[in-house]
Amino acid sequence: MRIPYSILVAVLLCLQAAQAADAVDGATHDNWQHYGGTQMAWRYSALDQVNTANVARLKPEWIFQTGEYTDALQTTPIVVDGVLYLSTNNSQVFALDAATGDLRWHYEYPPLDLASGANYVLFGAINRGVAVADGKVFLGTHDNYMVALDAKSGQELWKVNIDNAKQCGCAPRGAPLVVNDIVIIGGTGGDGAHRGYLTAFNIHTGRLAWRWYTVPAEGEKGNETWKGDSWKYGGGANWMTGSYDPELNLVYWGTGNAASDFYAGDRVIDPTQVERDVNLYTASIVALDATTGKLKWHYQEIPNDVWDFDSAYEVILFDRVIDGKARKLLVHMNKSGMTFVLDRVTGEYINAYLANEVVTFITGIGENGKLLGRHEPIPGQPTDICPSGFLGGKSWNQMAYSPVSGLLYAPMIEVCMTVTAMRQEPQPGAFFAGGGGNIFLPKDREYYAHLDAIDPVSGKVKWRYPYPTILLASVLATAGDLVFSGKPDGDFFALDATTGKELWRYQTGAGNRGSAITYAVNGRQYIATATGWGSIIGPMAASLFPEEGKNWRSGSTLIVFALPEDRP
């Protein structure tokens, strides 16, 4: 029997679609409701009004200045029903008309004042976004409070302390994640003498719902992986934003590195046994029951991390058919650039690959993601490591995932570091890195950053967009077959998602260090990006490129683009 050609093509297309099909819809539509777009963290929009055919006509529609110009604007704006919520490093929140930029309300907060001694947090004031749900805006403040505001008026509704900042030196930096009736927030502290956790508050009352400590206490499972009392200041700060699968009711979060970062002598029981489950649950992906905060499963990516290779970054949830079986998966890029694919139901290891070109901290990846040929810092001796622990193989700036192309779009960095590890006594809340160092550029390269289109399961690179200096902005992908991101020199740009060809750029006037989003109001698509260079690693990266870096300007401006009203 001959099968008609058209039917054969249709079957093949269906099979191909099924291969890449996601049972879950992680795409945004008119709203940009969560930090990662949706709780799946795709940073992908189904909007396609702006597309490869017309992106060259994109123009600024409105601009908003926050007034905080001495650092970076690292935020991801949230858009709900035509209102855009924008947060700043000093815990200000602005509610703006998403179509015009008109100010609806402004929530002011006392700015961080490290000089007076009134505040004490490591890393200064940084804010990467708010969460919006139930008619409320949820903000983690620079002095370690969770605040709920009325989304219509900006009126403060409740405020609760997360921890004593003067003692822990910690505060939230990543955006909160709302799941059902709770709002979950992490915090800094992985490089300090602190024991990290996630905290969930009831969105209606602000009351504590649960707290999950990354480092188990005495008597709890996992505590046996710590030497002596080292667990008390074991780090594991969960400083970015997690994901959520509503079908499984599981929250996924990447945990921070163990402390002290570079010196493990006081926290590792047997330095010769570092293959798996060392200093739990640091540098791991964890799945928690959203209702109770109880641990369901964990997968430790970097057992005995001595490079400052957090697992704190975004966890992208997607589905794939593997060996003929539909699998619920997650993909997670560790700070080292090592990328893990796990079954998100069970935590089963599927695959791991290296996304960087210059890698010296290991020689390869073994069975079940085992690190082969570990190149560890030798205490007291400067040791060169690639990628750098400070910048990572990728920074916190988020990748995007497109369900149409089935690809990840990742901003990678090729920078190394000389680490000098040293023993350090923990002082509560103070830096506890067990050493320090300086970054440097690997030799004989033409580019030190690249935006890659990567198959999330195999790690195969489909195309590469090289960039001569650094890329430290998140990536946005859209159904218009476009990928957006920004450069330190101020260029905000769009690439063809299929080929990687640059189609458009706009000079925003300040370095791009935040996260672009897209949304629609009354049928018109807008693309918004936060501009302003800064943070700790922004100037650090600029020091590698003295000529270019002197022009990477700080600022705090939101620029919103759209096609002209007379679009065809």
Binding site: A115, E156, N161, F432, G436, N438, I537, S543
Partner: protein, 255 residues
């Protein structure tokens, strides 16, 4: 003449000895300063171990800083930057030593630096233990610092403590007169009322720890004096010895 030579020799010897001892003292200060620098300034994302470029903090070596600038910056930080001030967190001798060390990176011989610091409060061993217990992170939110700010550390939910109870017995018997019963709809909760205005009311919901500062429309809330909330329910998490040590710490901080 012979005596003159002898005198010169002795003076020279004394001067050499003085200079040597000064140099040794200076070396000691710089060694201390370097140790403090490595532990405090060159750990993690801040300055590099050798004071050079490539870390998160600024390069410190050969910057042309003067001693006054270094002293002010190390002591009080830099406004609108991530540079913390260490005047309240480092002991005076360590603060002076690290200033001298940073000065040495800029070619300044920093002898006899005087840094304005608050005289340190010397705590007895019991008070030190009390301080730790009051802030104890291993107790989660079940610790005094969840509601009390002492010497700038802790959460100022309660009014500042002005009188320290004379004994653990008195501490356990503390009245909780300011806590009222707040009713919103069908829900009742113990509340520490901060303000009851015509339009909005502000109170701490003490139902659970940590307390939540609620801001509600006055028309939706009913506030009645008295509550079942007891301070003793929270002091119970400590034993008597621990409470006595906490009181010892409070006595040292609150005259």
């Amino acid at each position: 003449m012979k005596n003159l030579f002898r005198g010169v020799a002795i003076a020279s010897c004394l001067l050499t000895s003085l200079l040597t001892s000064q140099a040794e003292a200076q070396d000691e200060i710089l060694a201390t300063g370097k140790r403090v620098y490595l532990n405090t300034c060159a750990t993690g994302y801040c300055h590099t171990p050798d004071g050079g470029a490539g870390g998160g903090g600024a390069r410190l070596t050969a910057r042309g800083f003067d001693l006054d600038y270094i002293t002010r910056t190390v002591s009080f930080g830099l406004h609108e930057t991530r540079m913390l001030g260490f005047a309240t967190t480092l002991p005076a001798e360590e603060l002076q030593a690290v200033i001298a060390y940073v000065a040495s990176l800029n070619g300044i011989a920093a002898n006899g630096i005087v840094v304005a610091t608050k005289p340190p409060v010397t705590l007895s061993p019991a008070a030190e233990r009390g301080k730790t217990l009051l802030h104890d992170p291993l107790r989660g939110f079940n610790r005094c610092a969840t509601c009390h700010e002492i010497a700038g550390s802790g959460v100022p939910v309660a009014d500042p403590i002005v009188t320290v109870p004379a004994s653990t017995r008195d501490l356990k018997r503390l009245k909780t007169a300011k806590v009222a019963t707040v009713r919103i709809g069908k829900e009742r909760m113990p509340g520490l009322v901060l303000n009851q205005g015509a339009v909005r009311s502000l109170f701490y919901d003490l139902t659970s720890t940590p307390p939540v500062r609620r801001n509600v429309e006055t028309a939706t809330v009913e506030i009645k004096p008295g509550s079942r909330w007891r301070h003793s329910d929270f002091t119970r998490v400590y034993n008597d010895t621990e409470l006595e040590e906490i009181l010892e710490y409070l006595r040292a901080q609150i005259p």
